[in-house]
Each structure stands twice: as C-alpha cells, then as structure tokens.
C-alpha cells in the first residue's frame, strides 16, 4: 500500500462519525437543515434592518436609512475596493464605521461585532441578485 493511499483511507475514515447504528456523512444535509440555516441568516438580516433604521446606533438620532433607503447606494458587491477618499483598499465594514463616526456622530464597531455582522447581512440581502464587482467605483 502506498503512503498516498494510506493517507486517503485515514482521511476518509476520519470523515465518518458513527453514532449507535447510524453513519452520518459530513457533507450530507437535509431540507430541514437548509431551512434552519436560512432562518438563522434571516434572523440576523432582520436585526440588521432594525439597526439600519435605528435612531440609537449613533449619538445624534440620525439613522443609516435616512440617506440609504433599502441600503441603496452602499454597493456591497464592490468591496473590498480602493476607497479613493481613504487612499487604500478597504472592506465594507470600514466604510460602515466611517458612516457611524461621521453622519451618525457615533462610535465605530469591531469588524466582528454581532451588530456589524447584522448590518452587513442586511446590506447584502438588499443587494441580492447583483453580480459581484470587486474593486468597482
């Protein structure tokens, strides 16, 4: 047996989990799983929408939706991109933080803050169906 074949067999074995009599393959999922995962995402999208229209996200009562109804003109499909006003390539979260600090006169969020994730989930959801266009201005 070659070393390569042995490795493949070990890897394949490690992907099988045996619980009682049932063998579950790691890449197998059901319609129920798909529904549940979509529901998890949509729950976060709804949280993002609530933050988008919230007067409490910044310090002055201004909400994201005042300038960006339905998150229009945010172009999530173009990030990361060269943000010419900042002078380097940035991710969407950095631009969201710019808005939080300037028009909303608030504090920036950590890029993995659940609120930041929710805002990005909402922005992306409103843009569904649009082709990816990284770097486009």
């Amino acid at each position: 047996m070659s070393v390569r074949l042995l490795l493949i067999l070990v890897l394949a074995a490690s992907l099988l989990v045996i619980i009682g009599d049932t063998v579950i393959e790691a890449d197998e999922f059901t319609e129920e799983d798909l529904k549940r995962w979509e529901n998890e995402y949509m729950t976060v999208v709804q949280k993002g929408r609530a933050l988008w229209v919230s007067a409490d996200l910044g310090s002055n009562g201004v909400a994201c939706a005042q300038c960006h109804p339905n998150a229009a003109n945010t172009h999530p499909e173009t990030y990361p991109k060269f943000q010419q006003q900042i002078g380097r390539v940035i991710v969407l979260g950095e631009m969201i933080n710019w808005c939080l600090q300037q028009p909303l006169e608030g504090a920036p969020l950590e890029l993995d803050d659940p609120d930041m994730v929710a805002i990005q989930a909402y922005v992306a959801y409103e843009r569904r169906g649009v082709e990816m266009a990284p770097g486009k201005h």
Binding site: N60, A65, Q66, P69, N70, A72, W98
Partner: protein, 358 residues
C-alpha cells in the same frame, strides 16, 4: 471642486460674495417671457429636515445645509421676487424642529411661500405648521403667472386616523422613506375640487406654476416618489398651454414632460437620496428625459445637496441647480423639443461617469 456657472455671476454680488457662495446648494428659477421685461426670478429651498436631538441640540449637518442656503439666497443679485420653501422643514414634525427651522428661514430677506411636507404634517396633521405658515393650499398671481401651492402629502383617512396608536408613531411610520408601513401620497378630492374652481378663473394661455412636495407623477411607489391621484391632477392642468410643476421630496435632480406639463424637482439642503434604480429589488419609472445628478461623495458633507434659482421665460422655467461640490446644473425648457433639457449634459455623448447610478 465646484465651479461657478458663468451666467450665475450676474446674480451674485461682488467678488467676495462669489468666493463665499462658490460651493452652495440653491435652486434658481427664472420665468422668461418673449418680452424680456416680463422675466423674473425666484429662489427655491427645500427639504431641510431639521432634526431635534434633545434640549437645545439639533443635528449639526442638516442645520448647516439650511443656514448656507439662506445665506446664499440673500446674496443673489438681482434679487429674486420671492423664495419658496418646498417642504420637510422638520424631520419628525416637532415644534422644536419647526420653530428652529422657521427661525433660520426668517433670516431670508424676501417674501417666503411655504409648501407642506410629510415630515411637517404627520405628527399633528399640520396644525403647528399652519400656525407658522398659514394655509396648506393656496394660489396667487405674480407678473402674469398663476402660482398654486398644494398639500400633496395627504393619504387615506383610515391610515391617517385609525391605524396608529399615537401621533408619534404615525409620524415615525411616514418618516421612514423605505418603510413598507407607509402610505402613498395624494392631493385628495377636496383640494382637487378647489383646484378646479381656482383654475376656472384664469385663461388657458396663462402660465401656471404648481408647487407640491411630492412629484405629481408616478416614479417609484416604494419611496413615495409618487402621488396616488397624479393623473387626476394632471387632467385638471392639461387644458393650459404652459404648466410647470416644481416638487421637492426626492432630494435629487429629476425632470420630465407629460403633455403640456413640465416637471422639475429641487435639491434638498439636508442630504441626497439614491436614484430608485439603485435599489436592486424594485422597478422604478425615472423619467427617461432625466440626466441624473452625480453620485454623491459622502466625504463632502454638502455634496449633492443644494438650492435652486428659477428664471421664468415665455412662462416656462429655467432651473439653475446651485450644487456645492459638483458642477452646477441648468435645466431649461427647450421650445423646439417642447420639453425641459439639461443645457450641458442632455446629449448622450456629453454624460460623465459619475452620472451612472447602480
């Protein structure tokens, strides 16, 4: 960089004034007649959205927009005959907001005509606004032109009077532009009856200029770039040879021609809005005639906001958009094509990349 439009020089007093106003947002309108002596101008300021934070604090950004537009309008030479404020003086209809905005507008050294916006109306159904500015719809004659102001932001009675547990909630529901709980704007039967009688008093060749907050045409219902009974109002205006409708609400440059009626929007002093085509999930009917304004640069706080100077000639209007960080725009009635056109950007080969919205 903004550059001064050449023919604005004559309206602006002196070199220092020129420097001070070189990047301001005002819409300028001239009504021009065959007999040049009949021409006159008025200025148009709209959508200030003065927003109360608490105590004596207001959102600085929106305050600055209105203060700048007022200051620049006061420097116009020759002086405009009057100023129109196109609605949404307040953000949530509060007395503090209307008072603070009115205090700023009081600094205008001209007569001011006011239009009702939904942000002024839906807290107390226009009660406090009316104490400040009087009637919600009215007409007057000026140098041969018949001017009409409508309250076009009314909606269904059930929505207004029965749906919401409090006036504050009703205001918040209507204030969210993209809120699916909102309701379409309308002029309504009472005002249409009044308009019919008002128009019966004038000749069909009298130039008519209508001021409304919402477009008296249907562009995108989702953001209320829309008036539910637009066709009924247009039908009343159709018999007149020279009709212009000037509206706010949309915070962007729009223009259109339907039958004898020319439509022009005005800029906001507060913030710009995306064109509806930028929302991937909906269809809009932006007039094909409209060459969009440049995409706003958020790093310039006043970019894509402004005011207008309006020049009336031959009973038709020329709108000069005074934009702070963009090249000014001039949209004028073309008597050959019988529609408004942009004086620079109308031909397809003259358009520039920032006018592409997506």
């Amino acid at each position: 960089m903004c550059t001064l439009h050449l023919n604005r020089r004559e309206f602006l007093k002196g070199a220092s004034a020129l420097a001070a106003v070189s990047c301001l947002p005002v819409s300028m309108v001239e009504l021009a007649f065959a007999d040049r002596k009949k021409n006159f101008t008025f200025a148009y300021i709209s959508d200030a959205h003065i927003q109360h934070i608490g105590g004596a604090k207001f959102v600085r950004n929106w305050d600055r927009g209105l203060i700048r537009a007022v200051a620049e309008t006061n420097m116009l030479v020759p002086k405009p005959d009057f100023v129109v404020f196109g609605g949404d003086l307040a953000q949530l209809g509060k007395r503090e907001e209307l008072d603070h905005g009115a205090e700023m507008l009081d600094k205008l050294s001209y007569k001011v005509y006011s239009v009702m916006g939904e942000h002024d109306y839906y807290l107390d159904l226009g009660e406090y606004w009316s104490k400040l500015y009087g009637k919600q719809y009215y007409s007057w004659d000026h140098k041969g032109v018949h001017f009409i102001t409508l309250n076009s932001v009314l909606t269904y009675d059930e929505w207004t009077h029965e749906r919401w547990p409090s006036a504050q909630q009703r205001m918040l529901e209507m204030a969210g532009l993209d809120n699916p709980n909102g309701s379409p704007f309308m002029v309504g039967e009472t005002q249409r009856e009044w308009l019919k009688k008002d128009l019966a008093k004038i000749g069909k060749d009298t130039p008519v200029v209508v001021f409304s907050h919402s477009p008296i045409q249907k562009i995108y219902k989702g953001w209320n770039f829309w008036t539910e009974d637009a066709e009924d109002v247009q039908a009343l205006l159709k018999p007149f040879t020279d009709v212009t409708v000037i509206y706010g609400h949309v915070h962007q440059v729009q223009y259109n021609q339907i039958d004898h009626i020319s439509f022009h929007s005005v800029m906001a002093t507060a913030w710009p809005w995306p064109y509806p085509e930028s929302y991937a999930q909906a269809k809009s009917h932006l007039p094909k005639l409209t060459v969009p304004m440049n995409r706003a640069d958020p790093f310039f706080e006043r970019d894509a906001t402004g005011w207008q100077f309006i020049d009336i000639s031959s009973g038709r209007v020329t709108v000069e958009y005074n934009l702070y960080n963009n090249q000014n725009r001039t949209v004028a009635f073309d008597s050959d094509k019988k529609q408004p056109i942009d004086k620079v950007f109308q031909p397809v080969n003259k358009r520039v990349p920032p006018q592409t919205h997506y």
